[in-house]
Each structure stands twice: as structure tokens, then as C-alpha cells.
Subunit: 146 residues, 2 copies
């Protein structure tokens, strides 16, 4: 917990800080990243979780189009750039200890690379796990031939 986030704990609604000060105090991990949860703004459905560095978060806040950091490709990932399934940013929040982002988004079509609306389609029980949704569309349509 950084000093700034500690100071903000008892803060009343409407208290403001410069975004640069806040992002200086955020607890980026050893790779300079924060996990970012994407939630559909109207339905409340949690769609996916990905990662952002400071540059991609700042780009997202400036443009209103969600841009993650792709850990596998090691570069910015403007959601929808290959699939067409863009995420528009409605609101962004950081949590109490400055180490997790929550994005309220408007997601076009499937958020998941499998063609499903949400990435969270495997339900876990004490004995069994079960697939709870089928793809809305063929991933080959989303990405072309792979």
C-alpha cells in the first residue's frame, strides 16, 4: 500500500487528485503492469481480464478505446484490432490499494477469442467443471484463417 492510497482511504466522495500523481502511486507489478477487469457497462457481465501498462492505460483514458498490453506479444493490444470486436471505455476505476483496474466497457460482439461473449465459460464445482456457454460465432470468422 503506498502512502497516497493510504491517505485516500477515509476520503469523502468528490475528493480529487491529478491522474499523474495517482498513477505514480499505483502498484504496478514487476513487469510494470496492472490487471484490468472488463465489465459490460449495462448488463454487468464480467467479460475478461487482461493487463495494462501505464502507457496503454493513459492511451485508453485519452482515446476512449480500450488498449491492453499483450504479455504474449510484448506490445500494445488495441482490443478488436484483429477481430473487429472493439471495446469502448465508459468508465475506469482503480482499487483501494492501487493494484487492480476495473473497466466499464461497451463490448461489440464476443469479448473472448473463442467466439464467446465472456471468457468465463467454465463453471467450477466441487467434483466437476462444466462448459456453460457455446461460441456465438466461429473464431475463424473473427480472425480469418489462422
Amino acid at each position: 500500500m503506498t502512502e497516497l492510497f493510504k491517505q485516500l482511504e477515509p476520503a469523502t466522495q468528490g475528493t480529487r487528485k491529478a491522474i499523474s500523481t495517482l498513477l505514480d502511486a499505483a502498484r504496478w507489478n514487476d513487469d510494470g503492469l496492472l490487471p484490468a477487469i472488463a465489465q459490460q457497462h449495462d448488463s454487468g457481465e464480467v467479460l475478461m481480464m487482461a493487463w495494462m501498462n501505464r502507457a496503454t492505460l493513459e492511451e485508453t483514458l485519452a482515446t476512449g478505446r480500450v488498449c491492453y498490453w499483450s504479455r504474449s506479444r510484448g506490445k500494445p493490444w488495441r482490443k478488436g484490432e484483429s477481430s473487429g470486436q472493439v471495446q469502448r471505455l465508459m468508465a475506469a476505476h482503480v482499487d483501494c490499494d492501487g493494484d487492480t483496474l476495473l473497466l466499464s466497457v461497451d463490448q461489440q460482439g464476443p469479448a473472448c477469442h473463442t467466439g464467446r461473449r465472456s471468457c468465463f465459460y467454465v463453471a467450477l464445482g466441487e467434483e466437476m467443471a462444466e462448459i456453460v456457454s457455446a461460441p456465438l460465432m466461429d473464431p475463424a470468422e473473427l480472425y480469418g484463417q489462422r
Copy 2:
């Protein structure tokens, strides 16, 4: 992406796997943990994100009471054990590549250690960040004298 999660990508609704097989294939991080997002089951509000190892996830699935792994204390953290603000598990899901959990919970009172319902109370804009909710209760009431 592990082979099992790759196989499950095109799976139809109702496909089942033994939970032990699925958890063997999950992508636990270098500390043996997965991030776990907690969402209030009826309102859809995202309350917090914390971490689970395999033992605390299995305990949670078995007991229906959410138990995280506390990274700071290095031990299981049965949510509410010091604050009284228990989380009951309604459903648990893992995502497409097996590296993030989504918990549907019934949270008693505030989820956040600051006394707020949700940990995500700092809104981020291009220039400014703003506190968007006040504590529901005094953290001193939640935890006693600290």
C-alpha cells in the same frame, strides 16, 4: 495456454471434466496463485480482486465460504474472519486460458477494508482521479482498534 484449455475452446454447453483434471491444467502463477474477481451475484457489482492457491480454491468450492490466499500474511484468508463480513460463494468460473477466476458471491456488508462496499472507488479520468464513494462504516468498527 495449456492443451486442455485449448481442447475446451470449441466445447459445447454441458461438456464436463473432473475438477482435479481442470485444476491440474490451470495456469497458476509462479507463486501458485490465480487472481480471483469477486462479483456480487444479484447486483453485478464487482467488489474486489484477491488471490487463491489451489488449496483455498478447493476449500471454497467445498465449503461455499470464500477463502483467499493472503499474499501479505502468507496464509489462507477466510474473508470476514476478522471483519465479520463473510462472502458466500454462489458460483465460480475460470476463464478461457485458465489463469483467472470469477467468483459470484453474496457479500455481507462492505467488501473493502476501508468500509466501502467495493474496493473500486477511485474513478480515473484523463486529467483527474476522483473518489466516488464514501465508507459505509468506520473501519475501526470492522476490525476493532488497530
